[in-house]
């Protein structure tokens, strides 16, 4: 008798979180999420520890709900998704982002796709982890302006989410847990299996156009983009590899925002390290989905990919700390177009999970084999 009573007790304790999870409205999604997949061209390590077991599934749905939650901002108008719009590859299409009460930020909103692979966050690498970056975004006066006290005492937020936090984390809602849930959700936003991945890793020689192939040769050759936008493949790297994140995770001064004639000076990485060597340096962004995330550079000052290529072709913008890799490239106009054609092949396809969860619009995954710019460097309409 005693045995069976204790056994029942143990079973009840074990099932308690599952029961609680089911009782929270925000977690009551009927969506069946498929098993996680690893898109072609992405390294496996960021997927580690992520499976869609009950607890993780709930954390995912909580994170998703919070990602779109406008009550997390002081004016109730801004959510994470305001600056990281799913239809815009999780960027916002503006030069610099707009936060609460119409306050303009100072930097361009980067894509969240593949953020799981980042080694530091924000353009100057100020946040060592994603959770830290989310806390900064929540509390920044120009972004969501919601401090710890605001989040923990907000009645609407408590009513909607308290139950979920207690069920998942066994604790009341706090800024740290909000950031954790959003970070967990964000890690699922991956994008690979682009036309270029099909070409390089999938062995499909017809996956990209001839001009894009030439653009790729320029990328790893004459234009030397690959020095910072790293590709791992047995042909490109002595240690081999089957993935490309198109970043070296380092910081470089290319002259934007610090060069002669710039009105808005931004010290970049210097603000973090206080080392003059880091003056005007910003993190190398990944190039995946770059075609879908204009405008470009940390201040959004370049509107098209053609302008970006043209900028590098001129050797960047002179300043005393300009990266030595930046020298005039002598690319012809045709070569610039070919380089752009290659960059357009980096648009990833949606994962099944992202499609199922409504986080990716089918058809927007990109299948751009041709040149998307006219001869004047203007974007062609599709």
């Amino acid at each position: 008798m005693a045995n069976s009573t204790v056994g029942l007790l143990v079973l009840m304790v074990a099932l308690l979180p599952v029961q609680q999870l089911a009782a929270c409205p925000v977690l009551q999604s009927k969506l069946k999420l498929p098993a996680p997949e690893l898109p072609l061209g992405l390294p496996a390590y960021a997927r580690y520890g992520q499976s869609m077991k009950a607890q993780n599934r709930s954390r995912f749905f909580l994170g998703r709900a919070l990602f779109f939650e406008k009550h997390l901002s002081r004016d109730l108008k801004i959510s994470c998704a305001s600056c990281h719009i799913p239809n815009r590859a999780y960027s916002d299409g503006k030069a610099v982002s707009e936060g609460v009460f119409g306050r303009r930020g100072t930097r361009n909103s980067p894509t969240l796709l593949n953020a799981a692979y980042q080694q530091s966050f924000l353009w100057d690498g100020r946040a060592p982890r994603m959770v830290a970056q989310i806390k900064l975004a929540l509390s920044n006066q120009r972004e969501m302006s919601a401090d710890k006290k605001y989040i923990e005492s907000n009645v609407v937020l408590r009513r909607k989410y308290q139950c979920a936090f207690r069920a998942i984390y066994g604790s009341d809602m706090s800024m740290a847990l909000v950031a954790d849930a959003i970070a967990y959700f964000t890690k699922w936003l991956v994008s690979g299996n682009s036309d270029f991945d099909q070409y390089l890793y999938g062995g499909d020689v017809h996956a990209i156009s001839e001009s894009a192939k030439t653009g790729f040769q320029l990328f790893i050759g004459k234009a030397r983009c690959v020095i910072c936008h790293v590709i791992r493949h047995p042909n490109n790297h002595p240690l081999g590899g089957q993935s490309a994140l198109f970043t070296d995770f380092r910081f470089h001064n290319i002259g934007i925002g610090i060069g002669i004639g710039d009105n808005r000076k931004d010290p970049g990485r210097f603000a973090v390290t206080h080392s003059m060597d880091d003056m005007g340096k910003f993190k190398t962004p990944s190039l995946r989905n770059v075609d879908r995330t204009p405008p470009y550079m940390h201040d959004g000052s370049l509107k098209t990919l053609f302008e970006v290529v043209d900028f590098y072709n001129k050797g960047g913008k002179f300043n005393t700390n300009l990266d030595p890799a930046l020298i005039p490239l002598r690319l012809s106009k045709r070569e610039k177009f070919q380089l752009v054609a290659f960059l357009e092949t980096l648009n990833g396809r949606c994962t099944k999970l992202m499609l199922q969860a409504g986080l990716c619009v089918k058809g927007r995954s990109g299948n751009t084999k041709g040149i998307g710019y006219d001869k004047q460097g203007r974007k062609k309409s599709r």
Binding site: V6, Y45, Y48, H237, R250
Partner: protein, 376 residues
């Protein structure tokens, strides 16, 4: 005494307990193995940074079933095993976390260890003097490791590596006890697949009872005899591992790579851009060596003469992209030169086996500024 009512759940609980807490890291196995491209240790000298400062890249893998973390550092050793330089400084090692083997651990991560200008100078000097040296990479597991044998890896440079038919090749190896304690060790010699008709002398695979006082050195040698015929591309990679028998940790390692490669490297394309205004020459070239690969570090040099080809200076070209076996791109910036200077430019490319290709690329004539005389 376990209460009776707990008996029903105690067995699975204890099983869980023993596998998760008593030996929490029994399934972590961090290691540095070999490159999938070259079959040599997965250590690489490259300048994959825009400032072109030497850096070593090391591939760390995890063959265990659990996530493992470790600290990575590398050392530049001389032939005798003395440490000439260590990067990063002690206490600043690069921390790396690798997921379990089945979830990306086998693929591993490449750890970049940025050198310094001093490290650059040191390697440049060693290469210019053709001195034998080695890069030793170590991953120190933070939680314990089921297999300590693969935590240290060494790749040697400037050793004799070119094998030909009916040859006898000799490699002396040295191990020095650089610690302050007595070392009791065991030396094991392992080899990749030995090519047919190649013979390793002596055939000993293990030498036990190596006792070294602090500062004392152990010296040995090994010979390889090749057959009457060798096929281009046949190679042998020998690893000499001295293990501390008290701790079972690898104390030190050496590597000897021997390859039948009688094809000199090829220079495929060059692109020379002359900046008359600055007096600079920006040069890119693509080279490849399909058997032993272009030598890392100083494998590609741009030689230039300012006296019509009588004497030459050289500049090491730095790596941009490629795998050293297939077409690989390098770059160099020469100058500034004075107006009117005439520069003969040659490229010199050597492979890991020691074959060299030299080729004249171009004569660059810088223009003199036009002097206009104005009447008084």
């Amino acid at each position: 005494m376990i209460p009776r009512y707990l008996l029903g759940i105690s067995v699975p609980f204890l099983l869980f307990h023993s596998s998760n807490f008593a030996h929490p890291y029994r399934y972590v196995d961090l290691g540095i193995t070999s490159s999938e491209v070259t079959n040599r240790p997965a250590i690489l000298i490259a300048w994959r940074n825009t400032h072109k400062i030497f850096e070593a890249e090391v591939q760390i893998r995890n063959f265990g079933e659990r996530e493992g973390s470790g600290k990575v550092y590398m050392e530049i050793l001389d032939e005798k095993g003395d440490v000439l330089m260590r990067r990063p400084e002690p206490g600043q090692e690069v921390k790396v976390t690798i997921p379990p083997a089945s979830q990306g651990g086998k693929e591993g991560k490449i750890v970049q260890i940025l050198g310094s200008k001093d490290a650059n100078r040191l390697l440049d000097q060693l290469d210019r003097e053709k001195a034998k040296y080695a890069i030793r990479a170590t991953v120190l597991p933070l939680q314990g490791d089921v297999n300590d044998a693969n935590n240290v890896s060494v790749r040697t440079y400037n050793t004799v590596t070119l094998a030909h038919a009916s040859g006898t090749f000799f490699y002396p190896y040295y191990f020095k006890n650089t610690s302050s304690k007595m070392l009791s060790g065991k030396l094991s010699i392992t080899a990749t697949n030995i090519p047919k008709d190649w013979k390793i002398i002596p055939e000993t695979k293990e030498i036990s009872g190596v006792e070294l006082k602090p500062g004392q050195m152990f010296q040995g040698h090994i010979m390889v005899e090749t057959g009457t015929k060798v096929t281009e591309g046949q190679f042998l990679d020998l690893q000499f591992t001295l293990t501390d028998t008290k701790t079972q940790n690898v104390f030190d390692k050496r590597e000897w790579y021997l390859v039948a490669d009688n094809h000199p490297p090829e220079i495929r394309e060059t692109d020379i851009d002359v900046n008359n205004k600055k007096g600079e020459i920006n040069l890119q070239l693509v080279a490849h060596d399909k058997i032993s690969g272009i030598a890392e570090a100083s494998g590609v040099k741009i030689e230039y003469s300012t006296d019509g080809g009588i004497t030459f200076s050289n500049k090491v070209a730095t790596y941009i992209d490629g795998n050293f076996i297939k077409p690989t791109r390098f770059q160099a910036l020469l100058g500034p030169f004075s107006p009117g200077a005439s520069i003969d430019i040659w490229a010199s490319v050597n492979d890991s086996a020691g074959n060299i290709t030299r080729r004249k690329l171009k004569r660059v004539q810088f223009s003199r500024p036009q002097v206009t005389l104005s009447s008084p």
